[in-house]
């Protein structure tokens, strides 16, 4: 589980300051996205499969003699609720949410930890769910967009997105809302420039960044008066 101590999302508060180097390439310095492409995630998975001890160390119950590639029991704590699933160890957290729990707010777009449409919050920190294996996410508190506000209500960040038209097609929006929420949880009083720099880990194709920038600042202001 050591990997979970490293940030996999540029908005993660634990990342090193972004030097914005690499000739204008978008990067979280000290932690390349390329290190976290799905391939490496699968490699971790394979290692885990081969080692029942690791699984046990990670708190995963393993039937005697069974360690994949077939389904294994997986317990996920999502939005405060425990879910017991049976998944192949290679299933990502994103696919577990979408395909096995019908939690479809998070989207798969790039599938390579680049675009952020799959952003969820793990133990209070934003992660790209497309590059976290479901088995890795066990024992951690997982928060998805479905869990940040009661039914029929909007989280202040979502409300700010609506009010500032920070969305068009809306396909990137769930991921952005989660990245913004996580950011504001850790940085409740950002400046405009700080917010801009911190939210470079999510991409939008329609070009809604102007609205998102306004939404972040407005949500920050509103949240000072209390959260949902």
């Amino acid at each position: 589980m050591a990997d979970r101590d490293k940030p996999n999302h540029p908005t993660d508060p634990g990342r090193e300051p972004d030097a914005k180097a690499e000739l204008g390439e978008k990067s979280g310095k000290g932690f390349s996205r390329r290190q976290f492409i799905k391939g490496s995630g699968l490699a971790v998975g394979a290692g885990v499969l081969a080692n029942e001890g690791l699984l046990k160390a990670a708190g995963i119950e393993v039937a005697p003699g069974v360690s994949g590639p077939g389904v294994v029991p997986v317990r996920l704590k999502i939005n405060g609720r425990e879910h017991s699933l049976r998944l192949q160890p290679r299933v990502t957290l994103l696919d577990a949410l979408r395909n096995h729990l019908d939690l479809t707010g998070a989207k798969k777009v790039c599938d390579r930890a680049t675009c952020g449409a799959c952003t969820v919050i793990l133990d209070g920190r934003p992660v790209y769910a497309c590059t976290v294996l479901a088995i890795e996410a066990q024992g951690h508190a997982i928060e998805t967009i479905e869990g940040i506000a009661p039914a029929h209500k909007l989280h202040p960040v979502s409300q700010s997105f609506v009010d500032n038209d920070a969305q068009q097609c809306g396909f990137c929006t769930s991921g952005f809302v989660m990245a913004v929420k996580s950011y504001l949880d850790h940085h409740p009083h950002p400046t405009y420039d700080e917010a801009k720099a911190a939210l470079n880990g999510n991409l939008c194709r329609c070009g809604t960044y102007m609205g998102i920038r306004r939404a972040v600042l407005e949500a920050a202001t509103k949240e000072k008066g209390g959260r949902v």
Binding site: L23, G24, K26, I37, Q88, R90, V91, D95, R98, N99, D102, T104, G105, A106, K107, K108, V109, C110, D111, R112, T114, C115, A117, I145, E146, A149, L154, H155, S158, Q159, F161, V162, D165, A166, Q167, Q168, C169, G170, F171, C172, T173, S174, V177, K196, A197, L199, N200, G201, N202, L203, C204, R205, C206, G207, T208, Y209, M210, G211, I212, R213
Partner: protein, 713 residues
């Protein structure tokens, strides 16, 4: 009687105001269900095998190992033995299985043998294309006498310019979920063409389903930009797999497939010569241009020079080049961004050679820009004011010390609009509730909101007094959303339909109010004698007079409410680090007219978004093809780059909205503002660093190359 004409500004309660999109809460809470999110019971997932080669003949195909795998439910062959595949990503087989992972495993078990065939993917190499018989001149155009024109010219500028193939890169990839219920087919499909899709399924002999048995659903969709008009081979495959398996099937393209085969914008490259008198008056133009749209022969002939069609002596020739790359599809403002970039860059280079401020140069030549010359001038002046152009412009090459150079550039553009054919149905129920239905789609532009605003305004109701139903082909048909035609179509059909329904209601209510329908209006949730709120009844009471039968009234697109043809001016300010070659868009100003604006908020978002999308193709986007292997080097989002939130500067949008412009009626806005950014940003870069970066996107490498060549020159 209510009249269909748009209400005057003084009487508008909703139209022209800034209103939040009505599906915003669903989207911002993650509750909106896209095609990709549909998970009907016992769903299968399909994955595709596509060609790894640019051009090959399939000599053997064995799917038996895949079919034997437990959990694999159906296989569909797009292109079998003997067929040719003509680009990397060309579809071969799709497999439906119980899970996504299993479908991927099954695809890996399929054995295909290929006979590789000659291919060509490097569209920049016109000479090779000609040698291979892949270049075809689509037309030549001459006006006046170009050779005399260049003799008259006192200053001539010549340059090569290029804009590459880019992709649509919709965040929701192309795809559908197909489900059979007996002989009825239900599909959820991410489409720009809800009403037009059933007919495509009906044409498939394999599916053997009449259009009347096909239900198409698309409540929200994750981006199209011109690439999602058809159901596509993979849409038909999903329906065929579902039929074979007897279970619903979801087939969404993988990101790589999306970038390889689901839409690209044609390239445009060319050598341009342009001449002017010393005072800046344009007298001559000559261009030899070419581009590729993949294997289909497409082109922009007739668009060069862009806008400045009145240059007295001009010649232009365009050649279409066929390459083994994924097919071209309409990309937001088809062909205009390319033609705009080549033209405005060439003119800006000439202005630099003349030693003129390009603003003065463009304004001086606006008489050659046709019917919208006066509007362009007004828009350029407004843009200059918002950019502080006169203070920021300097002759080419920022002389400020240090590695960061700043510059400004400009461009103008035009687009049509009008409205696609559209039918709308308004139902007023006896309890006062209202629904408005049309088989349209909301691509994220705000279509649903616009319909709501128009209907509510027409009926004198608040927004939530009307329920909008779109995204389903059971509603009256509405055209495909392309070419900025949607708002014209739906706003006029909605206006007519709601007016017709209202007039039926007024006729029922008038006797009870002791008057005639022509003396009544619906306003503020009441039906009242025009201008006399004392003689009124509430909307609810008025509708109660209907007894038990609702009013149902149709409306169709109406040309008196809409129009075509807009202009726009954009200015960009950039900073360029001449040591690293990194360009940053610091500020953009976009001044745009679009007739009568229904919703200012979503209209502004269209323009903001277009400036950002334009920044993406100016600085980052390129489908990079490798002639050595025939494959695409960046079919993913790490290397097919889009701008991030911190990569774009400030954007100032000014919508032209005087009464003369509003009197033209509604005109679409999706295309026009995305045309100029490439040209404006490229011209700003030339202004900053003193040399032209001839090809988009202006990557650090290309900027450093241009600087290097500039030093040698």
């Amino acid at each position: 009687m209510a009249n269909i004409a748009w209400p005057p500004a003084s009487k508008r309660g909703l139209i022209g105001k800034s209103i939040s999109r009505i599906d915003g809460p669903e989207k911002a809470s993650g509750r909106a269900k896209y095609t990709y999110d549909q998970n009907p019971a016992s769903l299968l997932v399909a994955k595709m095998l596509t060609s790894p080669y640019a051009h090959a003949k399939i000599t053997a195909l064995d799917t038996s190992a895949a079919e034997r795998m437990p959990g694999v439910r159906a296989v569909y062959v797009f292109n079998g033995v003997g067929k040719e595949v003509n680009w990397e990503g060309h579809e071969i087989v799709a497999v439906a299985a119980d899970t996504e992972e299993l479908a991927e495993d099954a695809v890996r078990r399929i054995r295909v043998e290929y006979q590789q065939l000659p291919y060509f993917v490097d569209d920049a190499d016109l000479a090779q294309a000609a040698k291979d018989g892949r270049a075809r001149q689509l037309g030549a155009e001459t006006s006046g006498d170009p050779s005399t024109g260049f003799q008259q010219a006192e200053v001539t500028s010549e340059g090569d310019y290029g804009i590459p193939v880019i992709t649509h890169c919709c965040l929701e990839s192309h795809g559908s979920v197909a489900q059979w219920q007996g002989d009825k087919l239900n599909v959820w499909i991410s489409t720009q063409n809800v009403s037009g899709s059933a007919g495509e399924y009906a044409q498939s002999p394999e599916l053997n389903v009449p259009a009347s048995n096909v239900n198409v659903d698309c409540q929200v969709m994750g981006g199209g930009f011109g690439s999602k008009f058809g159901v596509d081979t993979w849409g038909l495959a999903a329906a065929a797999l579902a039929k074979k398996a007897g279970r619903p099937v979801k087939l969404m393209l993988e990101r790589k497939e999306e970038l390889l085969m689901a839409g690209s914008r044609p390239s445009l490259r060319g050598k341009i010569r342009v001449g002017a008198k010393r005072d800046g008056t344009l007298v001559a133009w000559d261009s030899d241009s070419w581009g590729t749209g993949g294997m289909s022969v497409v082109g922009i002939h007739g668009l060069l020079p862009y806008i400045f069609r009145g240059i007295p002596n001009r010649g232009s020739r365009y050649t279409a080049v066929r390459t083994n790359t994924g097919p071209a599809r309409a990309w937001r403002a088809p062909n205009h961004p390319q033609a705009c970039f080549l033209t405005m860059a060439a003119l800006d280079d000439l202005a630099a050679k003349l030693g003129m401020d390009p603003l003065d140069f463009f304004v001086k030549n606006l008489p050659l820009a046709g019917e919208r010359a006066a509007l362009y001038q007004e828009e350029l002046q407004k843009a200059a004011e918002l950019m502080d152009w006169k203070a920021k412009w300097h002759p080419r090459g920022d002389k400020a010390p240090g590695p960061t150079k700043r510059g400004v550039g400009l461009s103008i553009h035009t687009w049509g609009g009008l409205g696609h054919d559209s039918y709308c149905r308004t139902t007023i129920h006896p309890d006062g509730s209202v629904e408005v239905a049309t088989g349209s789609q909301d691509l994220g532009t705000g279509t649903r909101t616009v319909i709501n605003i128009v209907a509510a305004e027409t009926l004198g109701l608040p927004l939530d007094g009307v329920r909008v139903e779109i995204g389903d082909n059971k509603y009256p048909p509405d055209g495909a959303s392309g070419g900025s035609t949607t708002v014209g179509g739906v706003s006029s059909s909605t206006r007519v339909s709601a007016t017709n329904a209202l007039n039926e209601l007024l006729a029922k209510v008038a006797p009870g109010l002791g008057t005639t329908p022509d003396k009544l209006e619906a306003v503020g949730g009441k039906v009242q004698v025009i201008g006399d709120p004392s003689k009124a009844i509430s909307w609810k009471k008025a509708c109660a007079r209907l007894g038990t039968t609702p009013i149902v009234a149709m409306g169709q697109r109406n040309m008196s409410l809409i129009s075509s043809g807009v202009g726009g001016a954009q200015m960009a300010e950039v900073s360029v680090d001449v040591e690293t070659g990194v360009v940053r868009m610091e500020k953009m100003v976009a001044v745009q007219d679009c007739g009568l604006i229904i919703d200012v908020k979503t209209a502004m978002s269209q323009v903001y978004g277009a400036c950002i999308m334009g920044t993406c193709y100016a600085l980052h986007e390129e489908k990079i093809m490798d002639q050595q292997t025939g494959t695409c080097l960046n079919p993913n989002m790490e290397f097919y780059k889009l701008s991030g939130l911190d990569d774009v500067g400030d954007i100032v949008v000014h919508m032209m909205t005087d009464s003369a412009i509003e009197s033209r009626g509604v005109i679409g806005l999706g295309e026009p503002p995305v045309i100029s950014p490439g040209a404006a940003i490229a011209n700003a870069v030339a202004n900053a660093i003193g040399v032209r970066v001839p090809d988009l996107p202006m990557t650090p490498g290309r900027v450093l190359d241009a600087l290097g060549k500039g030093e040698k020159a």
